[in-house]
Every structure is written in C-alpha cells, then in structure tokens.
Amino acid sequence: MPKNTTPQQQPRIVVENVSKWFNKRSSRSMKDAFINLVRRRPVRSTQFQALDGVSFTIGAGESVAVMGLNGSGKSTTLKLVSGVLEPDEGRVFTRGKVAGLIEVGAGFHPELTGRENVFLNAAILGMSEKETKARFDEIVAFSEIEDFIDQEVKHYSSGMFMRLAFSVAIHVPLDVLLVDEVLAVGDAPFRAKCNAKLKELAGQGVTMMVVSHSKGQVKQLCTRGIVIRKGKVVFDGPIAEALEALESS
C-alpha cells in the first residue's frame, strides 16, 4: 500500500482505541470517609468506564454524527477530541484548527457588553484581533441584535444571548467543527438559519462532528453516523443505516 502523504487525503480526526474512566467518589471529605468506613460502605472511589476501546477516523470534509442514548459517552468523545478531557488509554489526534460549538456562550460574561463579549469569546475560540475586527459586522448581522450590541449581556433575553454566542462560534475560521446539541435552542427561523450556515460550512470542506438527538438535523447535515452504546462503538456507516441501528438499540 503506498504511503499517502498529501494532506487532503489525510484524515482530520483519528481516535485510536480510546478508553476513559471516571471516578465515582464515595466520600467527599475525611468525615465522609470515616462515616462510610463505620457503616461498611465503600470508602475509596470506584471507577466508571465511560468509553471502552473507541476507534474511528474522520476524513477531511466529512460530516459525521455521533449518536447514542443519554450517558452512552458521546459528549465524552467530543470532549476528548476538543482536548478538554484526556484519554486514559489510547490516543487522539487532530489535524488543523479545531473549534467547538460546545455549549456556546461558556465564555460569555453577563456584566460585559455584547461587543466586549464578542471580542473575548472570539479570542477564546482562537481568533486574532484582526480577524475579529474583520468579521465583527458579519457576526453582529448574523445574530440580528444590532441595536443591543452595546448593552450588557445580562439584559439580553436568553434567545438573544444564544444567537450572539452561536454567531461568534460559527464565524471562527476552522478546519474541524465540533457541534454538541447546541441547536436545541433558539426559535425555528434562527434554527433554520443555523442549519443553513452549518451546511454552507460543510460545503466549504469543513469537517464536522455532530452530537445530536435531532434526527432531522442529523439527516440533513451528516453523511455518516457512529452509534455508541455504553461506551462502545456499535455501528459506523451511512447515516440512514446508523439511524436504524440507533432505533433498534
């Protein structure tokens, strides 16, 4: 097999045999530990395996949905790819600039104005000052809150807040976009606009990894589905079959 070195054909995300455990702490202080000891309950923390030998590769330009029931480990997978968590076993690699629509608005501060928050959040997501300035008008226009941009964010309605946060995240130049259940918020027209924007990005060759419960959105956006059940990949293939596999699981 010839070695493939052209970057276009290199995958964007490689997840190799990744396992992840979380500690379930039984006692939260020395006092708790003592009480548990006296009552013969477990004192030390027990481990809970969230992911068990997960492997997959996502190629450049692919749009992949990661599906599964609550607690199956899909968000953990996403966090491992974004770097927030580290795998206990196995390796994760990414190529290019990765950014996430993972609970957008995490970096927003209610006491700052919309404008200040746009700059702060854009920087958190990895944009330079120049890039932010160049895209600022576009960001504000997309969020449809022009009149309120110099208001403090705490006076925003939750819809306005989400729109601005989403708008910042979607305008970050990137190669890989991680999407985690963000589109459950906002009203229908804005949701449609976001989906259109995501499709446009996918069309531009941005690689996407989407965690969602919305079948409609997943079907529209993704071509491939990975189904995770109890921390294991049980299906990896075309999206229609993945949805069927999810139903039957």
């Binding site: 995958p11 927030v84 968590l85 690699f93 190529r95 958190i124």
Partner: protein
C-alpha cells in the same frame, strides 16, 4: 486503508506550559482587561478602593506598631519604612489569592473549551498586579515628599523586588490553583500563608531585631532571610527608605540601615527557592491539569 503520517497531527489538550502564554498574548490581554474592568463594576467608589484599603491598613499598622508599640521612636521615618514594605507584601497577598481561585472561578470555560490553562492563573496575577501600580505611585510620591532622590540603583532594586515577588507567586499560584480544583482546602492553606507572609517578613519590625533574637541559632536567621519575599522587601527598603535617615552624632544609624550579613547568599537562596517553586508549580499544574474538566 491509508497509512497515517502522524507528524501532521496535534494531540488535543497538550500545551507547552507557561510558555504557551506568549502565543496567546491577545487572549491574555482580553482576560486581564475583563478582570480589571469587572473588579469594581457596580461599585460607587470604584478604583478608589484600591487606594482606600492600603491606606487604612497603613494607618492601623502605623498607630499600633508605630505609636502604641513605639516603633517610630526607634526608627527614623518609620511611616516610609512601613509603607515601602507593606505595598510589596500586599502585592504578594493579592496576586496569590487571585491566582489560587482562578481555575475554579473560570469553571465554565475550563470544562468546555480547551485553552492552555496556565492562562487563568497568569491573567489573575497580572490583573491583581495592576492594583499594585497605584500603590507604588503613592509610595513614590510619598518618598519624594520625604526627600527621596531616585537613582539607577534604587530603580534596579525596585524592579528586582517586584520581579522576585511576581515570579515567586507564579510558581505558588500554579501550584495552588491546580490543587484547589480537587481539594478546596488549598484556598484555606493560602489564607494562612497570607497571614504568615505579612508577619514573617521585616515590614512591621526590622531584620536586625530577628538577628539579635536568633544569635544563638544562626540557621533560623538563614531560613528567615532566604524567603524571597523577605529579600524583595529588603530591596524595597533600601530603594526607598535606605538613603533617607540622616546619620549624625546625635542620631546614629539604625541597626538595619545596611544589608543583613551574608545578604548575597540570601539573594542566591531566594532565587533558588523561586526556581524551585516555578518548577514544582508547573509540574504539579500539568499533573492536575489532565483531570481539571472532570474534577470541577
């Protein structure tokens, strides 16, 4: 299946430690700007508080130590001596407290987005440092009123003192901010360290008093003076207060006007302590950093 050339890939979540901060200068600037502009949001007096707190603290110490315990009779220009040490200890206390809570208070970000986590303690330290600058300005004005003439040497000592405190706090701050994620006991430990810091350096008394009391056990004084904070405070005393007491037949020089004996060694020891704290702080931070997102 194509073979994968791993050299083109990054491992998510691996930074290069404190050095990463240079790549994120712009974000660091915004984070500092955020903390400084938010600190006195919704307060009527605003930045005025940055002057009020040290002034009240100074007056309390001056009345109790200077007047009631009669320190000012033993030492010329005691107010200046007191204030020049106090601002530096305040810098240490404020920056240490700010950095210790920095990861926990940025919980939302740490759990959801990967950034080099060293940014948070560093932004907190620099943010707290900005509140030291007005105090330093007051100190300089007060010294000028007492007849102080800045010299190259005194400016060098001031910079060295500030640099020592900041680098020491970066080490301690990395250490405690990381520990604080899993064990909130850390903030209580830091609270105690802050109290000890105020009293374990010669600002309310002089090093010569400690020297006299510990004559029989010299290693105690060695440990006392190897504290980077103590060395930095002596730098400040020399820079601001040291040139001012007038030595005449009637008013002999105070015991602590010169450097403590073996001071060169204490400086070296203090630098060693700082390097040790930076290495340990960074090491512990990296160990704990891996589980920040799940421990918060």
């Amino acid at each position: 299946m194509t073979q994968i050339d791993y050299s083109a890939f990054d491992i998510p979540g691996r930074g290069r430690g404190v050095l990463d901060v240079f790549r994120y200068r712009y974000l660091l600037r915004l984070l500092i700007g955020k903390s400084t502009s938010l600190r006195y949001r919704n307060s009527v007096l605003g930045w005025f508080w940055s002057y009020v707190r040290p002034t009240v603290q100074f007056l309390v110490y001056y009345l109790v130590i200077g007047q009631i315990l009669r320190m000012h009779e033993r030492m010329p220009l005691f107010p200046l001596y007191l204030f020049s040490g106090l601002v530096l200890v305040n810098l240490f206390n404020e920056t240490l407290a700010a950095s210790t809570g920095s990861i926990v208070s940025n919980k939302a970000l740490v759990r959801k987005i990967y950034l080099p986590r060293e940014l948070f303690p560093l932004a907190a330290i620099i943010g707290a440092f900005t509140h030291f600058l007005p105090q330093l300005a007051v100190l300089i004005v007060a010294s000028l009123l007492f007849g102080w003439l800045p010299s190259l040497a005194s400016i060098g000592l001031i910079l060295a003192g500030v640099l020592m405190v900041l680098s020491f706090v970066i080490g301690l701050g990395l250490f405690f901010s990381a520990i604080n994620v899993r064990f909130r006991d850390a903030s209580n430990v830091v609270e105690i360290i802050r109290t000890i810091a105020t009293w374990s350096v010669p600002i309310l008394y002089t090093w010569s008093m400690v020297y006299d009391r510990s004559r029989d056990i010299p290693w105690l004084f060695h440990i006392y003076m190897s504290n980077p904070l103590a060395v930095a405070v002596e730098f400040f005393h020399h820079a601001f207060w040291g040139s001012l007491p007038q030595v005449t037949e009637y008013s002999p020089a105070p015991d602590n006007l010169g450097w403590p004996p073996l001071f060169g060694w204490y400086v070296i020891a203090a630098i060693a302590v700082i390097i040790f704290s930076l290495v340990v702080g960074q090491f512990v931070f990296r160990r704990f950093e891996r589980t920040f997102a799940q421990d918060l």
